[in-house]
């Protein structure tokens, strides 16, 4: 596609540290260029503008995207790029994703929006059975790497059963797709651009709680962040905490509180859940000897289970305490009981203390 050239031209004064074929070029998100304080949906909006600008075969479609979307992530796109590239689809998730696979198979960049991650299930068949296996079963004759599915996920305080789910675990069980979850506006823009340009189908979950709440300095230029690289966002020596998305802010609060009790916590943002960066997490666990994983999805069968099993496999003798998981309960996401269901700061704090004092 020649996107390496595009990146090279676009970056201008930006620094390009590494260039690998078929990987996202790295440019630190806080490099040159003006940075403005914006929130998550604006960052995603910027990323989409850039993606459509730089590739004239990129399309954005989904339910209600043309007026800007229910979360305003797609504002201005239809006006700027036209209704042939930014359009509404009827209310048929299975159709949306399947259609996106077809577009991608013919070499386009299809950026499909599923209005809420809770609605992604009709499309689950297409994602698992088609998108994930397209390259594999056609012997690399065709692929749907141009497909990116964006969906807002996660609790929002009042969402109830069908506007708060975190389905990342279902997708992490599918070889052939990537699952990416950003934690903040700057990460979101870089990661989304990487996902769109990645030659594999990607499911990009956006924490809807952070759409307006998270505000950060985000550079205005085009930049990408590497996929499958976890980031240590807080150094520590007593316990490793692993999380993603909106949960990280809760974990950070817990870390701050634990600090007061003299527990030094290392916090890792996985960023990409599939394929996930085992090396970084392993290195951190080798340093601390303890690990705690936290996510909003129900604990049984959540992605924390995969992380736990892998870490135990790799670092069994180094571990000083069992791997702790502080996750949502094994119930459907409740409406009124949301505060009890969620893995709150206090629950994490209790688990940190229990693990450290094991």
């Amino acid at each position: 596609m020649g996107f390496r050239n595009i990146i090279g031209r676009r970056l201008g004064l930006g620094l390009v540290r590494r260039r690998k074929p078929f990987s996202t070029a790295t440019c630190d998100g806080d490099g040159n260029g003006n940075a403005k304080s914006i929130n998550l949906y604006s960052a995603i909006n910027q990323a989409l503008h850039i993606a459509l600008e730089t590739d004239n075969r990129a399309f954005v479609f989904g339910e209600d995207v043309s007026f800007g979307g229910v979360f305003r992530c797609t504002t201005g796109l239809a006006d700027r790029f036209g209704k042939a590239r930014v359009f509404n689809t009827p209310l048929c998730e299975q159709g949306i994703v399947g259609f996106g696979i077809g577009l991608a198979a013919m070499g386009n960049r299809a950026i499909a929006e599923i209005q809420f991650a809770d609605y992604i299930y009709p499309a689950f068949d297409q994602i698992v059975n088609e998108a994930a296996k397209f390259r594999y079963r056609s012997g690399n004759q065709f692929n749907c790497g141009g497909l990116t599915i964006r969906a807002p996920y996660g609790a929002v305080g009042h969402g109830g059963h069908y506007h708060s789910q975190s389905p990342e675990a279902f997708f992490c069980h599918v070889p052939g797709i990537k699952v990416v979850i950003p934690r903040s506006p700057r990460q979101a823009k870089g990661l989304l651009l990487s996902c769109i340009r990645d030659p594999n189908p990607v499911v990009f979950f956006e924490p809807k709680w952070l759409y307006r709440l998270a505000v950060e300095e985000v550079p205005e230029h085009d930049y990408m962040l590497p996929l499958s690289e976890a980031e240590v966002i807080r150094q520590g020596s007593d316990i490793t905490l692993v999380g993603w998305g909106a949960q990280l802010s809760v974990m950070e609060q817990a870390c701050n509180e634990a600090e007061k009790d003299g527990i030094s916590c290392e916090l890792i943002d996985l960023k990409t859940l599939l394929p996930w960066d085992k090396e970084t997490v392993e290195a951190s666990v080798r340093k601390t000897g303890r690990v705690l994983i936290s996510h909003e999805a129900p604990v049984t069968g959540g992605f924390g289970a995969e992380i736990s099993a892998s870490i135990v496999e790799r670092c069994f003798l180094r571990l000083e305490a069992p791997v702790a998981r502080v996750c949502g309960l094994d119930t459907p996401f409740p409406l009124v009981f949301e505060p009890f269901y969620m893995p709150t700061k206090n629950k994490i704090l209790d688990a940190i203390k229990a693990t450290v004092n094991y």
């Binding site: 209310l91 305080g157 059963h161 009981f337 704090l349």
Partner: protein, 508 residues
Amino acid sequence: MCLQLTYVVKSGLVGFPLHQLNTKILPTLSATIPTPFPLVFSAPIVSFLSFIFSSPLSLPSSPPIFSPFPSSLPIRKKMATAFSPSKFAAQPFPLNTTSQNNPLTIPTIASPFLGSTRKLIRLCSSSNLNLRRRSGTVVAVSDVVKENKSKSTPNLLITKEEGLELYEDMVLGRAFEDMCAQMYYRGKMFGFVHLYNGQEAVSTGFIKLLKQQDSVVSTYRDHVHALSKGVSARAVMSELFGKTTGCCRGQGGSMHMFSREHNVLGGFAFIGEGIPVATGAAFTSKYKREVLKELDCDHVTLAFFGDGTCNNGQFFECLNMAALWKLPIVFVVENNLWAIGMSHLRATSDPQIYKKGPAFGMPGVHVDGMDVLKVREVAKEAIGRARRGEGPTLVECETYRFRGHSLADPDELRDPAEKAHYAARDPITALKKYLIENNLTSEADLKAIDKKIDEVVEEAVEFADESPVPPRSQLLENVFADPKGFGIGPDGRYRCEDPKFTEGTAQV
């Protein structure tokens, strides 16, 4: 000559003034355009031809389904090339021989249902139709008008008691929804709340004809369906507030109204999810009757859903199943023209939803959903069909929601002129006018009902306020049938009884 028309309410032709007459005959085309065009006011026979040319179609050209002269009017290109007339020479949908097997005859009241299958066969065979343009139940306007002229006395559609019942139900729906909005903005209610203002005629028109054992399946816009079915305002309000006294013990909220007692099989947040559920419920009723030989079991299921849902796979799958197995179900489409911010006309290749019925082998009927009496007449027959075992019906009710999609929706996208047009056709004021003009009741009676409903709704709010919040243990209940379904923990006790299972204090 058999003319392709939308369903005509025969007896209503007499009861209504002329302009309303035309709203029934005139089909969806002009009405579905989101422009403030009033429906054409002219003589019935000529009108349906004239409106086609008078209203500016902002849609892709649609087949002129009301033309008596098939060859002379423009045909949609797609259809002309894709299908040849000969393919459709046979009957477009299997008009089964139910009427022959079934000893029940067409009701012999003065106004037989004009869309009944027997008459339909007769009507169709008597003409050389271009069946491509079949739009569902077919009625000849000329036949209808002829029958009407033979009547000497006007007959009203409803009695006083029925009229008051309908009025009360619609006012309850409206007052309740308005109170919901107030409560939401005061912070007592939370979550995603979708209000039904403006669409009351559909709910009242259909659900008031049901028995207690009949089932209703709805969407997220389900408060008024539950209220019409008989769930008390208190239970619904408490559910919205998230209290234990709510109809689902506070666990569901706005979009999940269930009632075992009144057979409300839910509110569904996901569009189209309820339709297969309704299909299954209808199957049960038929099974009970035919296999288990409970011959008095003639329960009908109503599935309500919107225009956006009609582009969803589940809808089509269920139309097929219901028609295949002749289930006692009525699919009611509440076409309010908008799916959040997406206009139905821009999202659907053929915006006339009722035409999807005959494609699957069931009658498709279109009705003006802002008029409760018209809806009721159509509902009577559709439900009657289902009860008699003649199979499903697809009813498209053209209606409008006065508020935004949900309380969080600023509702900026809809044309204010369109909103004003429909606001002028408020179903409650229309029914009020009908009742008073036909001397069925007085202004004072209606005011008394208004007052009574206000009190009911206020009392519901008070009740909900005073009700207790669910205890934390309720969180773990009902995940499985066995409340101890979480198994046994390492200490040998049931995990759900372990206080640490919900460890930590909750922080909002």
